[in-house]
């Protein structure tokens, strides 16, 4: 279970309804509800605590600007969590591109046909659970390509559903499942190489 409980869906609906009435008046509630989750997501993606807060603030600033451009109807229908994480994902993907990790990025691909990938609904396997320390997972996550990193973190760290991740990334559910699973395999391979 995450240390940062995810907002209940009805809270999201109420926030979206408040945003539909008045963006500025409702916006602090949006920030309070999602700031910890956004900062944490950004920090995991960038693996840079010092920059995480600045980037996360930028996420909310861009969100606010976008909200003012939306109709009340569109604001009322927003699924805020995945919408904010999508902005965060885009910003961090650019930031990751600007500052690549020190070693070769990982993108596990053994050439096996995608149909051969095992049960994608399974949780992280024993290698992950037996990793020497969380730091070794952090090292492996940091080496994932941005596309896999986002899907892996959302699925296996933040426990988002595939539907939500698909909405966040603007990709089909099948693509998202494949990315998250490839991320998992790559992290596992890295941990095995580290002789865990």
């Amino acid at each position: 279970m995450s240390a940062c409980p995810l907002a209940a869906p009805d809270a999201d609906t109420m926030l979206a309804a408040a945003l539909a009435r008045d963006v500025d008046r409702a916006f602090e509630d949006v920030v309070i509800t999602y700031r910890s989750q956004v900062v944490t997501f950004v920090a995991r993606m960038l693996r840079d605590d010092a920059r995480a807060e600045d980037v996360a603030q930028d996420v909310f600033v861009r969100a606010h600007r976008a909200l003012h451009g939306y109709s009340a109807e569109r604001r009322a229908g927003l699924r805020l969590r995945s919408w904010l994480l999508a902005i965060a994902h885009n910003l961090t993907r650019n930031a990751v591109r600007d500052a690549p990790p020190p070693s070769d990025p990982l993108d596990y691909d053994d050439g096996a046909p995608r149909s051969a990938i095992a049960d994608m609904t399974a949780g992280p396997d024993d290698v992950l659970l037996r990793a020497e320390s969380w730091r070794s997972i952090g090292d492996a996550v940091a080496r994932l390509t941005p596309a896999l990193r986002g899907a892996f973190v959302m699925r296996y760290v933040d426990d988002l559903s595939y539907d939500e991740i698909a909405e966040t990334l603007g990709q089909p559910v099948g693509t998202v499942k494949a990315s998250a699973h490839r991320g998992l395999l790559a992290v596992r391979a890295q941990l095995e190489r580290s002789d865990v």
Binding site: M1, S2, A3, C4, D24, R25, F27, E28, D29, V31, I32, R35, S36, V39, T40, A43, R44, D49, A52, E53, A56, Q57, D58, F60, V61, H64, R65, P124, L128, L129, R130, A131, E132, S133, W134, R135, S136, I137, G138, V141, Y156, V157
Partner: protein, 254 residues
């Protein structure tokens, strides 16, 4: 290892958010926030943004306050959900605690800022004349402009413009009314003793340590007619007693 290291990773990389995070976001989007704080004159609206507190006004109708704020500052202010370090400091100061509160005077002219910064240095238990403040900022002929600048003080109570009074120690104008100004002064110093001294025609008070003060310098008015303390009608009279001006209230120009 039985416990999931993925969970350890999740917990270890969980980030806390700094107390100024939300204020930073609101500064960037150009929207200020306000809250209600108890104070010596009742509940007040306190509006603030990243640089500091921008406005203090008597609490009342929210729409009226928000319209006044937008008109004066050219920015929107909305009710705050949470306190941050700035509003927490303002809340403490308005309840009488001696804490530093960042103030946002960007909207004021440079002249107004000089007046307000100087007024901010007048300690509790003291009062100073408008003319004194004009002299202190190097504009001795601008007494009326000083009064106007104090009248536009966006953060009364936090910048204590109520401590600036007329030379004859009558209280003068105030954004919350002269009666409120007098009530505030009476909470902070023995204003009756000051008036008693002034009504006898004294402009200064001699102190037993060899200097002379304004009657509103701390509690000196309450000591008149005790050993070493007596009223003075003029600077010449002070000089005749070989007294020097007090370095705190600076009763005459250097």
């Amino acid at each position: 290892m039985s416990e999931s290291n993925l969970r350890d990773y999740r917990d270890a990389t969980q980030r806390s958010v700094s107390p100024s995070f939300t204020t930073g976001v609101f500064a960037a989007i150009g929207v200020d926030r306000y809250t209600i704080c108890p104070s010596a004159i009742g509940e007040v609206f306190v509006a603030w943004s990243a640089p500091g507190v921008s406005a203090v006004r008597l609490a009342g109708d929210e729409e009226t306050f928000e319209a006044w704020y937008a008109e004066r500052f050219g920015r929107r202010t909305v009710p705050a959900v949470e306190d941050d370090p700035i509003s927490t400091a303002a809340r403490a100061k308005l309840q009488g605690h001696d804490v530093a509160v960042p103030i946002d005077l960007r909207e004021c002219s440079p002249f107004e800022q000089r007046v307000l910064h100087t007024a901010a240095e007048i300690a509790p238990g003291n009062a100073r004349p408008y003319r004194w403040l004009a002299r202190e900022i190097g504009a001795p002929d601008a007494t009326r402009a000083v009064g106007n600048a104090l009248g536009r003080n966006p953060v009364p109570l936090l910048i204590p413009c109520h401590r600036v009074i007329r030379t004859d120690c009558s209280v003068g104008g105030y954004v919350f009314g002269s009666d409120t100004k007098r009530a505030l002064l009476e909470r902070e110093l023995d204003f009756g003793a000051v008036e008693h001294v002034v009504n006898q025609g004294f402009r200064y008070v001699a102190c037993d340590k060899g200097y002379f003060c304004l009657p509103t310098c701390g509690d000196i008015a309450t000591r008149v007619d005790t050993t070493g303390y007596f009223g003075l009608r003029s600077v010449e009279e002070a000089h005749a007693h070989h007294l020097t001006p007090c370095g705190i209230c600076r009763p005459i120009a250097a």
